[in-house]
């Protein structure tokens, strides 16, 4: 049995409904990341945000990107962030976060920017970019390792530089206390 593409009574595509749900979850959890006081909860909200984004990738027809998103962001980065919080947080954390001193103007600016972006994107003819496509993984691999092989290789150099920098900054010098 196949599910019809359009929901029968309201005449809306399933994709669109799913997208709306996922987008709401993503924006809501992203807001929680910046609003919540408890930094652990912020981290957990961030994982929800990443998960919703993975769902949007699936709807957009990029299953490989979605799988990578789950593996790398939810699997690795979030756990890393939570560990970093756990290992570095002191009990005497400030009650108010230091960066939240300009919350109201920042929120206003964000809302205004969101409206501008929505208006601009809505009134633009996106041409071919608006059509629904489904990217097969082998096609992606061909593009990645032929047309975009240079960026692919450069990322490895970028990571090497970042690792060297990270190790230098984190390394404890001899005789330095714990």
């Amino acid at each position: 049995m196949t599910i019809p593409e359009v929901i029968p009574i309201v005449n809306v595509r399933w994709d669109d409904i799913l997208f709306l749900i996922l987008a709401t979850v993503m924006i809501g959890s992203a807001l929680l990341v910046v609003i919540l006081r408890d930094i652990i909860r912020c981290g957990l909200a961030m994982m929800v945000c990443f998960g919703a984004l993975a769902g949007i990738y699936v709807i957009a027809g990029a299953p490989l990107v979605a799988a990578t998103q789950v593996l790398v962001y939810i699997g690795a980065i979030s756990v890393l962030v939570l560990f970093a919080i756990m290992l570095t947080q002191t009990k005497a954390a400030p009650a108010r976060l230091v960066f939240q001193t300009q919350a109201v103007p920042a929120a206003l600016a964000a809302v205004v920017l969101a409206i501008i972006i929505a208006l601009a994107v809505g009134s633009t003819d996106w041409g071919a970019a608006g059509t629904r496509v489904r990217t097969a993984t082998d096609a992606l691999a061909k593009v990645l390792f032929q047309q975009y092989v240079l960026p692919f290789e450069i990322v490895s150099v970028l990571l090497l530089a970042a690792v060297i920098g990270g190790v230098f900054l984190a390394k404890r010098d001899e005789g330095e206390p714990l």
Binding site: P151, G165, L169
Partner: protein, 488 residues
């Protein structure tokens, strides 16, 4: 990928190998400055030779993503001299403060690879990655003195704002990609030329993309009002690194502007001209006005570097206004600014050889009597930064301002603003000269010994500052070729 591709990317691969070689040498003989410096400087020399060789046969590799032309060669050689000079100036400052030299040199050479990638990139994605590869080592270098809270504070500000601006820039790139459907610079330019020729109004999405990319790039070159990270990052960094940060990433970001705004978005230049004019006027004026009030030479030079960004933007605006000379002026300015600014920072770093010496104006009091040669060289660099003939800075300013005058219209107003700013800047540059030669030192300090490496670097920057001011012809023909390669 063929052998021809390998020959074209040879210099880039060479630079990556030099960075790795420095680390390996430090692994074998840890903590010694000699071997790491030798490998770094010899390696950079080799990369320079490779660059010059590769520049003789222009071509493209990786299906048009990587281009070697006159512009690439010019910018690459400039980047190599920036990194080479920084490596020459730094050890005298880093060693007394127990900061490692091998890691410093390796990270700096990684930044060089990023800059070289930008210079050669004709693909939006490669441009972005090159930018990241160039600025990421900069964040680390800004916080290199990791036990110094000022250095860490500056690095965190630089890192946060830098990351945000990269994200904003990438967001803008995504819009351009969405509209044009390609990441290759040549194809984007062709597609946009079609849009511009059709006479249709700019699509809102494309305008938004342009705005985001301009914002992202303006952060990187520290144009007003996107400059807030600059003074803190520059003042907190170890002085030779400040010199590098004020030149390397700035010239690199201008390379990005050339490849992106002139190369890919050139057809839309009537649409971004006005923004650049406003940015240039604001950047020059505010940078100079705030520099006037600074009592710390490092912070003064930080604001002055913001002002110099403004002068370079005048060249870009003149190009957008229809004068090819604007690009030549911009490139000439980049080279002249590199040598005079690195020289000025090298003198500040040499004075701070002993840990604990600040970069306050008082440190310079009586320098003319204490170390006459250093005082004279500093005067030369400051005169050049002011733009007084016969120094490199004079021709640099003259070329960009002349191009703006020739473009006419709103650009002649911009030219007037630039001239007024150059005059105002003389006050704070010459104040340092007054302190060096006409003020009694606050506390009598012994003249310090500077290594022959520092002297060699100082002489190199001095000679270049004077030569570019006396015989501008050869460099002018080089930048003319470079500008032609970009726009033809």
């Amino acid at each position: 990928m063929s052998w021809q591709d390998v020959a074209i990317v040879g210099p880039l691969v060479g630079a990556i190998l030099v960075a790795i070689a420095i680390l390996l040498v430090d692994l074998v003989v840890p903590g010694r400055r000699g071997p790491a410096l030798t490998v770094a400087l010899l390696g950079l020399g080799l990369v320079a030779v490779l660059t010059a060789l590769a520049g003789r046969t222009p071509g493209q590799a990786f299906g048009g993503a990587y281009t070697v032309d006159a512009l690439t060669t010019f910018l690459d050689l400039l980047f190599i001299s920036i990194v080479g000079l920084t490596i020459v100036f730094a050890p005298d400052y880093l060693e007394p403060r127990d900061l490692p030299i091998a890691e410093f040199a390796a990270v700096l050479v990684f930044a060089l690879t990023g800059a070289m990638l930008i210079a050669a990139s004709t693909d939006l994605l490669v441009l972005f990655l090159g930018l990241e590869l160039m600025v990421l080592p900069g964040y680390l270098l800004a916080g290199f003195a990791k036990r110094d809270s000022l250095s860490t504070e500056g690095a965190i500000k630089y890192f946060l704002l830098g990351s945000f601006s990269s994200a904003i820039f990438l967001f803008g790139l995504a819009y351009v990609w969405g509209i044009t459907g390609t990441t290759r610079v040549a194809e984007v330019a062709a597609e946009l030329a079609r849009v511009a020729a059709g006479g249709a109004a700019l699509q809102p999405g494309l305008a938004l993309g342009l705005a985001f990319m301009t914002t992202g790039v303006a952060f990187k070159i520290a144009a007003v009002p996107f400059h807030y990270w600059t003074p803190d990052a520059y003042q907190g960094s170890p002085t030779p690194i400040t010199g590098y940060l004020s030149v390397g990433p700035k010239v690199g970001a201008f390379a990005l502007i050339l490849r992106l705004f002139v190369g890919a978005l050139g057809p839309l230049r009537a649409d971004w001209l006005d923004v650049i004019i406003v940015l240039a006027a604001l950047t020059m004026t505010l940078g100079n006005l705030v520099a006037l009030t600074q009592g710390n030479v490092k912070r003064m030079l930080a604001y002055s570097s913001i002002a110099h960004t403004g002068y370079m933007l005048v060249g870009l605006a003149a190009y957008a206004g229809g004068r090819q000379e604007g690009l030549q002026g911009l490139l000439y300015y980049g080279a002249a600014y590199t040598f005079m600014n690195l020289g000025a920072f090298a003198v500040v770093a040499a004075l701070q050889h002993r840990p604990g010496v600040t970069s306050a104006l008082e440190t310079f009091a009586g320098l003319g009597r204490r170390e006459p040669l250093l005082g004279i060289l500093m005067t030369l660099f400051l005169l050049s930064l002011t733009g007084i003939p016969p120094t490199a800075g004079f021709f640099a300013k003259a070329y960009v301002i002349l191009a703006a005058v020739q473009a006419g219209g709103a650009l002649s107003v911009l030219a007037v603003i630039a001239v007024l700013n150059a005059a105002a800047a003389a006050f704070y540059y010459l104040r340092v000269v007054v302190y060096m030669f006409m003020r009694e030192p606050v506390a009598e300090t012994e003249p310090q010994r500077h290594s022959s490496l520092v002297w060699a670097g100082l002489w190199a920057t001095t000679v270049l500052t004077i030569v570019l001011g006396l015989v501008p012809g050869p460099l002018l023909s080089v930048v003319t070729d470079a500008a032609k390669a970009l726009t033809s």
